[in-house]
């Protein structure tokens, strides 16, 4: 499988805000699994997730729809 093109964008999860509402894990299932408590779990661990180009729109939706503003794209 070829590596997907990067969008250059990184999704940051702010753990002090995240309340495990689970809408990001629904929008970005390719990148975020849900831990047993409902918190998002990036495939490589950590708080920063590199966004491939084809998921850039989904990532923007995730940022806009996180009910507690715990996500940021940069």
């Amino acid at each position: 499988m070829s590596t997907p093109t990067r969008s250059g964008k990184v999704l940051h999860i702010d753990w002090t805000r995240c309340d495990a509402r689970g809408s990001c894990t629904e929008l970005l299932p390719e990148l975020l699994r849900s831990d047993p408590w409902g918190y998002p779990l990036p495939a490589g661990g950590g708080s920063d997730v590199a966004i491939p180009a084809h998921l850039a729109a989904a990532a923007r939706d995730a940022v806009g729809l996180c009910p507690v503003l715990a996500l940021r794209l940069s």
Binding site: D19, S23, E26, G38, P67, L69
Partner: protein, 200 residues
């Protein structure tokens, strides 16, 4: 023409009430962090926002039509400063308070990324005042307030909102005990969890 304006003013008011009802319920569902009506969580949030915006459009048409309605005798000041109107000042005033609250709620919600989550949340609580205010306003000023169909609708909306608010206050509403800080994800915990999964 006046008849048409009047009908439009009433009709849009009723639709606004229904949309505000839907919005309040979806807002509570958004807060609950659960999927609902076959919608995933993110869609519940999305529809909550959209129904609020569509509701606001109906409120806008509602007040603008009534501005041109000679019977309601409204002027621009009555839109924002309550209790000055000449026709049913109290009930109309409730509509004005409702409009002010609605504007405040919408503006802070749309600017939430800039004003911060705390201010947004505090102002958003006003939604629980807005809804009954809009309801009382419609009973007080509405020409159709006595009509069985309107009463039926109002009772249905009230039942839904009251039900949702009661559910909101129960402990079952909270999916987890959100006050325990140790639920916060820590790398060690992820590792530990992976281990348990592997062992299983």
């Amino acid at each position: 023409m006046n008849e048409a304006l009047w009908a439009l003013g009433r009709g849009t008011g009723v639709v606004a009430l229904v949309l505000l009802t839907v919005t309040v319920v979806l807002g509570i569902l958004t807060r609950s962090g659960r999927p609902a009506f076959g919608l995933p969580r993110f869609a519940v949030t999305l529809v909550h926002r959209n129904s609020a915006l569509i509701g606001a459009v109906f409120v806008l048409i509602h007040v603008v039509t009534l501005l041109f309605d000679p019977y309601a005798q409204l002027n621009a000041v009555d839109f924002f400063v309550p209790f000055l109107g000449s026709y049913h000042p109290f009930w109309l005033g409730l509509g004005t308070v409702g409009l002010d609250l609605l504007i405040a709620i919408l503006v802070t919600a749309l600017l939430r990324r800039w004003i911060g989550q705390r201010v947004f949340r505090v102002v958003h609580w006003a939604a629980y005042a807005l809804w009954p205010i809009a309801l009382f306003h419609s009973f007080g000023t509405g020409t159709d307030a006595g009509a069985p169909l309107f009463i039926l609708l109002a009772v249905a909306c009230s039942a839904v909102v009251v039900g949702a608010v009661i559910w909101r206050t129960t402990t079952a509403f909270q999916l987890r005990n959100r006050t325990t800080p140790d639920r916060r994800i820590e790398p060690s915990r992820i590792a530990a969890d992976q281990k348990t999964k592997e062992l299983r």
